[in-house]
């Protein structure tokens, strides 16, 4: 027989339209495909941050001892946060910059809270490849623009922690935070 062998219902084979075997074939492959994809999803999803990692709570930091010109490091989501008390001169330098010339245009005001313009709170994670920039610790290099300097690949940040030179694409990230008193900030 020229037709498909192995079926005991030749009348169906000879008929027009969908053949029974085609239907079984498509149904079986579809079911296996959908089933396979369904199993694949948990296998991919398991690599995403688990519930305990996502549940990392917010951090309260007392920054009372940070004098103008100084900075401190805190920890948020196991990553460093820089809390910096800007001097009037540093604020002036940051405001003097023409924002349109910046790679990631933002003013100092947009990066601080009203009434606390001297408190620059940013993640201490370089936006290039994630090293901790220098400049928050006592006596560390602050780079050409007086802000932060990343020693890994040479990114330079200004006194508003905006990227000014080097490979980093963005300003140091400002995490969500609020001041709970004049000396305590809640990050996250």
């Amino acid at each position: 027989m020229a037709h498909d062998a192995g079926t005991d219902t030749p009348t169906v084979i000879d008929g027009e339209g969908v053949r029974r075997r085609d239907f079984i074939n498509i149904a079986a492959v579809s079911a296996a495909g959908v089933g396979g994809l369904t199993v694949l999803y948990p296998l991919i999803s398991q690599m995403a941050p688990s519930a305990d990692v996502l549940a990392e709570s917010s951090t309260q930091v007392d920054f009372a001892q940070v004098q103008p010109g100084q900075a401190m490091k805190a920890v948020f989501r196991k990553q460093p946060v820089f809390i910096r008390n800007l001097t009037p001169k540093e604020i002036q330098e940051a405001e003097a910059v023409d924002v349109s010339t910046l790679r990631d245009p933002q003013t100092l005001k947009e990066r601080t809270k009203p009434g606390h313009e001297n408190w620059l709170i940013t993640m201490g994670v370089c936006t290039h490849l994630g090293c901790i920039p220098l400049g928050a610790g006592e006596g560390e290099v602050r780079g050409e623009f007086g802000g932060y300097f990343c020693p890994c690949h040479g990114s330079q940040y200004d006194t508003a922690a905006r990227i000014r030179k080097g490979p980093a694409p963005k300003n140091l990230e400002v995490p969500p935070y609020e001041f709970t008193s004049d000396t305590v900030v809640k990050i996250g």
């Binding site: 941050p49 990692v53 196991k78 020693p151 080097g166 490979p167 980093a168 694409p169």
Partner: protein, 427 residues
Amino acid sequence: MSFPWAKTYTPKHPFMVWMDEKLPLPRLVYNAVGGGYEVPRNLNYFWNFGFLAGLCLVIQIVSGIVLAMHYGGDTRVAFNSTEHIMRDVNYGWMLRYGHANGASAFFVVVYAHIFRGFYYGSYKAPREMVWLLGVVIFLLMMATAFMGYVLPWGQMSYWGAQVITGLFSAIPLVGDALHTWLLGGFAPDNATLNRFFSLHYLLPFVILGVIILHIWALHIPGSSNPTGVEVKSESDTVPFYPYFVAKDGWTIGLFLIIYSLFVFFMPNALGHPDNYIPANPMQTPAHIVPEWYFWPFYAILRSFTQDWLWIVPAKLMGVLAMFAAILVWFFLPWLDRSPVRSGSYRPLYRKFFWVLVFDVLVLGYCGGSPAEQPYVMIAQIASIYYFLHFFVIVPVVSSIERPDPLPFSITESVLGHESAAVAEAQA
């Protein structure tokens, strides 16, 4: 494939005859790396690095499996279990130093193997698939080596993981989500270490699988040779066993002497002291560098300090360039259009080959140096040249070059003239 004159496997012992009927594994081995595989008689020592690379993989798998019996893939114990291996486990120091220096040795051997391919045009038809699979093996090796370096959870481990996984955050739109997914968190942590351990154990066996495909693809046209002239007759080849097994044995001895010098007398020469400091997410080491075998590519990554055409961020360009530096090898069989394979008969290409070797060494030197002048500028020039070599010099040279006359056959290149070969064959 085998040439018509290749010896066929004929088992003599009744057990081997029985075995050959049920499962012809001895026959497979005989035809792959035994007396049944005919190899060009003129192979020089650069053809020994493939076998050596296989030996390195065996060293890494064996030492790695026993190290995993003592290591704990958890951030609380990883560093201490590594020190436990060094101090308390019987011969643990030897196993760990053997494994760490084994990785370096593997890369030395594989770089020699790859540059042999560049010089002798081993990537050309009909061996493109051998070459493509080789590049896949190299990429897998890089991933495996990187993840292995993270496992001791020292400072370089941690910050290496931070920087290298950070590469993926450069991808537009999905980069940050992908980065978090790869790490299983917002910074390298226990989830990251655990999955790296799992994959570091898996990938060597994937490499082993691709190596089998690499050898399979190689055995279809047979091995290339220093003249680049294809095998024409029986006098051009000798059987792999015993001739090249013996020759490979001799280079294995030489290799093991040099390898042992590192393992036993200067085990930390290629490492970084910072990795003996436990990982500290709050403190970046002053000078982050990857292991030496990544330096040339790391230099290319760091060469992009300005946004490209005001659209593409410098960070993305650096990442693209670094991956492109290896991916361009996939296109080499089609970028090089010269019908002559061997650099020995290509006077112009040969010169540029050595310039490329020098260029990669310069990139490597800059990649291992701090990210400051003059290294950044030198690396930028060397990076430009690197891509110029593959995208411009190789295609242009292959069309304008006038190659030297090729020998008629492999036998003629060995004996000086073909009649000697005939005389030899008759003798």
